[in-house]
Structure formats: structure tokens, C-alpha cells
């Protein structure tokens, strides 16, 4: 393989192949990533901490390992970054908050440890909405990340820096977290792939929690294959994470490259069509994606889901209730340590009753059954909307951030199913549009298969923002 493309554009698989063939070094990949970061991040603000020395040391270790015939898997020598809620031993972990601006954990989160043990190259920590729930705030220790497709627009959240960094070509993969859509939302708005794995698939231990029963850890990446390879490294049972499931870890790449023949996909079209905020361009793109999947061999049928409002109510009551329980002491005693947006969201959990929370969990059981025993008892996967439109401009955010909505991701935090955000095109304003592929519990393999098959013919994920392509590293 001769490398004719910028090193920061190589997929994880392509870079891995070149590393193993001795055609490139981890140090060269890392330097290309650092150059791209230096070129574009002063405008994008994806990073809250760059760990250059650690990255160069990780790269040297990976090169030494390759030289001595040691191969720790697909992430060896590959640069990546972590959302700043992933605990990192000896490296500041702030949750983008004044409350934790000097917090330096003594241990790695499980995901950080697995990526390090797998030979990955940690470039640094990327920004988030404060405690994974705030908004695009300007009253925090670091500025909010900006959308690489249009810097006047926000990224979505909460994995804001994760999505911006991948979209701007700084690296192929970052880790995010998803409690109500915090991987899939920013992936949608920034035109990246984002996978919320099944609840219990990836350990959450050492990651700052937002809502215990809704939190998921997963990757955002340039391509579906990048996410599949990342999953190979970060998945697995963790007896010290109460939510972790003892299930076999499959080969997540096993079905990549297959067409969709024989698959039944339920298209949840009515789920969003009645939403008054739906952008007609999003509908057209979703319909076109459904047709493309049918052309790839899938049997695509329209299906009904329970009303979105039921999922939304269960998700919000559980999320705000659990989040308030986590932050109760600090929010009462140090209200101004929080930014305005996070404070407003977190404090609202205090007005819920115990009965509200219990009723939400009861409804959750019925909704989970309706999706899993109902729809996914018949269909192999669901095609669902992701966002109602494109990323809003920063100017839309006044003092009351909660007014902004537009995500349709929460249902699959309520049910725990794996859900993949997949770019499907661009609106007339030049901003990305996206869809969700939802699978049966622990069947990420089928979700990734569908995503990769669509991606291969649609070519959307190959497109990058112009200003990121013009940077020196590229």
C-alpha cells in the first residue's frame, strides 16, 4: 500500500495496515493529528486539554511494540481523544465545569485503560456540555466547541468536542457518552458516525455519571468501520460496573461489507412525521435513505411505535431525577459553581416527586417491551429519525438553553437498544443530516452491517468541511 492521502484521513483499518507493513509510524500519524489540531482547533475549540507529551510517548511505545512483533489489536498506534468526563489517571478530568477544574483522578476509567492497553495514542481531552447536560455555554472554564461545517453553529451535545474533533479531521475516533442522545446528536449535527452500544456492553466505570440507568459509553468516528474496530477494544464484561452485562464480545467487523439481502428493516416514519418542528429536508433525506437500503436488498416496511411523547417523558423524568440525585449536594451549596445551563437542567429534577420517577420506570418497561418483543421480534433493525433538522446557530441560545430541542434519540436510552447515528446527506444550508439504525439488544453487528452497507454507496461520510481540508496537515 502506498500512502497517497493525508495521514489524518486514513481510516483506522488503513492506518493499521500501513503500520503493520512498516509504511508509516505511529509517531507520524500522531504528528499529523497534532498538526491538524494546531491548524483548526483554535477556531473549533474541540479540545480542553492537549496531552502532547503523553501522545508522543504512546506513539513511541506503539512503534516499539510493532518493531518487536507485539500486536495489541486495532487501536495500536492510532490517535484518539476522550470526552472530558472519562477519568484519566494523572490527567485533569473536568466535565467542562468550574466545579472540577482541578480534578485529577488517580485511576483511569475502564475505557481509557482499555484503549491505553490496546496501544492507542491519547491526544487529549475534548469538551462536553457541562456534566454532559448543560448546553453551548460561554460561562465555563472553556469555550464551547463549534461546528466545523459552519463555525457560527453549535455542535449538538453533550459530546460536543468529540464530534467537532472528528468532523474537523483531527483524528478518526473520539469517545463520547450518551444519556439521551449525547453521542448521536452531535454526530448528527457534525456529520460523523456515532454508536450508542447496548446498555451494559461497554463499562461506564470511571466515567462521571449523568443518569445511572441511561448512561452509555461509545465512539464517534469518521466511518462505521472505525467505530466497529473501536468497539472491539472497549467492549466487555466489567464485574465492578453494576450495569455491565456478561455477554460474549462478537467480531464487530464480521458483517461489514455484506449487502442487506435478507434483512427486514422497520421504518418508523410516523414516529416523527407529525412533529411540527420537522424540517422537510430531513424527511426527504430519510425517505431517500430508506429507499437506498431497500435497493441494497433489505425489506423496508413502515412500522408504528408508541408515541414519541411517552418515550420523551420517561427519558426526561428518569434523567433529571437521577441527575439531580447525583448533584444534589453541590447544586444546593454551590449553585454558581455550575454554569447557567447545567444549573437550570439539574435543578429541575428537584421538582419531581418519587411517584413521577416510579411511573416513568413503569412506562419504561412497557416501552422496552413494545420495541424489543414487539417491533424487533419481527424486524432485524429499525430505521429512525435522529434530529428534526440541522444544527442551530449559537445565536438561537438565550439565557434559557432548555428551550432548544429537536433530538429524537432518547427513546433508545429508555430501551437500552444499540443505536447508530449515520450521516445521510446535507441540507440546503450545507449542514449534515442523519438517521439512526436501531438494533436488537447486543446485536451491534447487524446495526454496523446496515450502516456500512449504506455508507459504502452513499459516500456521505467521505465528505469533510472545506476549512478542515484546507489545513496544512490535510
Amino acid at each position: 500500500m502506498s500512502i497517497s492521502r493525508p495521514l489524518n484521513h486514513l481510516s483506522i483499518a488503513e492506518a493499521g495496515k500501513a503500520l503493520r507493513a512498516g509504511e508509516v509510524t505511529a509517531l507520524a500519524l500522531t504528528e499529523a493529528a497534532l498538526t491538524q489540531i494546531a491548524e483548526v482547533d483554535p477556531e473549533v475549540h474541540a479540545f480542553v486539554l492537549l496531552t502532547t507529551e503523553r501522545a508522543l510517548a504512546d506513539a513511541s511505545k506503539a512503534d516499539a511494540a510493532f518493531a518487536s512483533g507485539v500486536d495489541k489489536g486495532p487501536m495500536q498506534g492510532i490517535p484518539y481523544a476522550l470526552k472530558d468526563i472519562y477519568g484519566t489517571a494523572g490527567i485533569r478530568t473536568t466535565a467542562h465545569s468550574n466545579l472540577l477544574r482541578d480534578n485529577v483522578p488517580s485511576e483511569d476509567s475502564v475505557v481509557a485503560a482499555k484503549l491505553a492497553e490496546g496501544g492507542g495514542v491519547l491526544l487529549g481531552k475534548v469538551g462536553t456540555f457541562e456534566f454532559a447536560i448543560g448546553g453551548p455555554s460561554f460561562d465555563l472554564p472553556f469555550p464551547p466547541a463549534r461546528n466545523p461545517w459552519n463555525l457560527d453553529h453549535f455542535t449538538g451535545g453533550s459530546s460536543s468536542g468529540s464530534a467537532a474533533a472528528v468532523a474537523a479531521g483531527m483524528m478518526r475516533m473520539t469517545m463520547g457518552s450518551d444519556t439521551g442522545g449525547s453521542i448521536r446528536g452531535p454526530a448528527a449535527f457534525c456529520g460523523t458516525v456515532g454508536l450508542k452500544p447496548t446498555y451494559g456492553r461497554v463499562s461506564r466505570r470511571g466515567v462521571l455519571p449523568l443518569a445511572y440507568s441511561l448512561d452509555h459509553c461509545g465512539p464517534l468516528s469518521w466511518s462505521v468501520e472505525d467505530s466497529a474496530l473501536t468497539m472491539q477494544v472497549i467492549s466487555g464484561y466489567d464485574p465492578l460496573d453494576p450495569a455491565s452485562a456478561k455477554v460474549p464480545v462478537p467480531d464487530f467487523t464480521a458483517s461489514l461489507g455484506q449487502d442487506l439481502a435478507g434483512l427486514r428493516i422497520g421504518y418508523t416514519r410516523k414516529f416523527y412525521l407529525e412533529n411540527p418542528f420537522l424540517d422537510p429536508e430531513a424527511t426527504q433525506a430519510l425517505d431517500a435513505a430508506a429507499q437506498q437500503m431497500a435497493a441494497l436488498g433489505a425489506l423496508v416496511e413502515e412500522v408504528d411505535m408508541p408515541p414519541f411523547e411517552q418515550f420523551d417523558a420517561a427519558c426526561r423524568v428518569i434523567m433529571f431525577g437521577e441527575a439531580y440525585a447525583i448533584h444534589e449536594t453541590d447544586i444546593k451549596t454551590r449553585p454558581h459553581a455550575y454554569g447557567r445551563y447545567a444549573y437550570q437542567h439539574l435543578i429541575s429534577g428537584a421538582v419531581l416527586s418519587a411517584a413521577d420517577y416510579v411511573q416513568a420506570q413503569r412506562l419504561r418497561r412497557e416501552l422496552t417491551a413494545a420495541v424489543n418483543q414487539g417491533l424487533l421480534g419481527t424486524f432485524d433493525a429499525l430505521l429512525a429519525p435522529n434530529a428534526l433538522g440541522t444544527a442551530a446557530p449559537f445565536s438561537d441560545f438565550g439565557p434559557d438553553a432548555g428551550r432548544w430541542g429537536g433530538m429524537l434519540t432518547g427513546p433508545f436510552n429508555v430501551t437500552g437498544n444499540p443505536a447508530l447515528a449515520l450521516p445521510i446527506g446535507f441540507a440546503s444550508n450545507g449542514l449534515p443530516l442523519s438517521v439512526q439504525i436501531v438494533g436488537r439488544p447486543f446485536d451491534e453487528v447487524t446495526v454496523l452491517r446496515i450502516g456500512a452497507a449504506y455508507e459504502a454507496v452513499a459516500g456521505v461520510t467521505q465528505q469533510r468541511p472545506q476549512f478542515a481540508l484546507q489545513a496544512k496537515a490535510a
Binding site: 446498555y199 451494559g200 440507568s213 464484561y237 464485574p239 450495569a243 455491565s244 452485562a245 456478561k246 455477554v247 408515541p307 411523547e309 411517552q310 420523551d312 417523558a313 420517561a314 426526561r316 423524568v317 433529571f320 447544586i331 444546593k332 449553585p335 454558581h336 447557567r340 444549573y343 437550570q344 437542567h345 435543578i347 429541575s348 429534577g349 428537584a350 421538582v351 419531581l352 413521577d356 416510579v358 411511573q359 416513568a360 420506570q361 413503569r362 412506562l363 419504561r364 418497561r365 412497557e366 422496552t368 439565557p399 434559557d400 432548555g402 428551550r403 437500552g416 439488544p441 447486543f442
Partner: protein, 66 residues
């Protein structure tokens, strides 16, 4: 279709917050009340007839653990 109940006004939200031991800082009160009101606007969806099996225990059917 669920029937929404009347939304609580600011004084009721203030009372709920006081019950929780919270008085929001003055510069954040308006946003706090708006956020709380939006949350309370959806709870009527939770109060519809449920099946006997709809209880919070083991909501997920996860694979067996040690």
C-alpha cells in the same frame, strides 16, 4: 391520548423547590422556573393505565451476571 393537567405556576414550582431545600439564586430563578415547568409539562404522559407487569424491577432483561 393523554390529557395534560394544568401546568404549575411559578409559586407552585417555588414551593416544590423550597420543599427540596432550594431557593434558586435570583439571577437564575427565571430560567430555573421555565426549565422546571417544561419538565412538569410531560409528566401527565406517565399517568396512564399500565399493565400489572409494568413495575420498575429489572426493567432491562440483561444477560446473566455472576
Amino acid at each position: 391520548m393523554s390529557q395534560p393537567s394544568p401546568l404549575p405556576d411559578t409559586s407552585e414550582i417555588e414551593q416544590r423547590l423550597r420543599n427540596a431545600g432550594i431557593v434558586p439564586p435570583a439571577d437564575r430563578a427565571a430560567g430555573t422556573y421555565a426549565s422546571a415547568q417544561r419538565l412538569l409539562a410531560v409528566v401527565h404522559w406517565l399517568r396512564q393505565p399500565r399493565t400489572v407487569a409494568a413495575e420498575p424491577s429489572n426493567t432491562f432483561t440483561l444477560a446473566s451476571k455472576d
